[in-house]
Symmetry: C2
């Protein structure tokens, strides 16, 4: 007998703390859920899209307005709006040649506010 080595951490073998890993594994959400969550945040992880969403917090706007506001090309804005549309974050209505975009989710503001709270806590 070499003493109680059963709980000695060893990484190269397999797992350091097997009980912890086993317990955490059970508490983990479904793989698909985590994937979807990451995909959602990926949408928020671009300055242009964040800007567009903040703009839509304030007012319904057409593509042209947004492009002017952000000083970017109509094409760039349209591409990003497509991504926001696919994520069901914005909706749109057509009025003649103009397409007006607006928010389609009431949680985005809260998510952003929580994000800002984290940022503001950094010294």
């Amino acid at each position: 007998m070499l003493g109680r080595n059963t709980e000695v951490p060893s990484c190269s073998s397999n797992v350091v703390h097997e009980e912890v890993v086993a317990r955490v594994r059970e508490e983990m959400p479904l793989e698909e859920t985590l994937y979807d969550l990451a995909e959602l945040f990926k949408v928020f992880g671009d300055t242009t899209r964040v800007k567009i969403l903040y703009a839509l917090f304030a007012a319904e706007m057409c593509v042209c307005d947004i492009a002017a506001l952000l000083n970017m090309s109509q094409s760039a804005i349209s591409h990003q709006l497509r991504i926001l549309k696919q994520a069901r974050l914005v909706k749109f209505r057509r009025q003649g040649r103009v397409v007006y975009y607006s928010l389609d989710d009431e949680h985005v503001k809260q998510i952003f506010d929580q994000g800002l709270t984290h940022i503001n806590e950094l010294t």
Copy 2:
């Protein structure tokens, strides 16, 4: 690289709603704030990092544990932990050769919950 565009990206002079754009422009947060916010969400926009954070919701874990839990290489986990560290989302303590990571922010859970709420609302 950027902005060799002397042309104003307005669609055509009259169609832009100047009043709306002007008002929204005043309500927009600082450029830097929006950039920081996007950077934060970029951190959340990766499945591996989301998984790590969810694991740390449940327990403090060492690098080895996390790698075993997620069935990924130690190196990959370590690289991702560095990003989470830089974003001040996780903290660590050293105990001998083992480094234990844990959450360093109480808002992440709320942000994730809001994200899940959005996802679950999609039909």
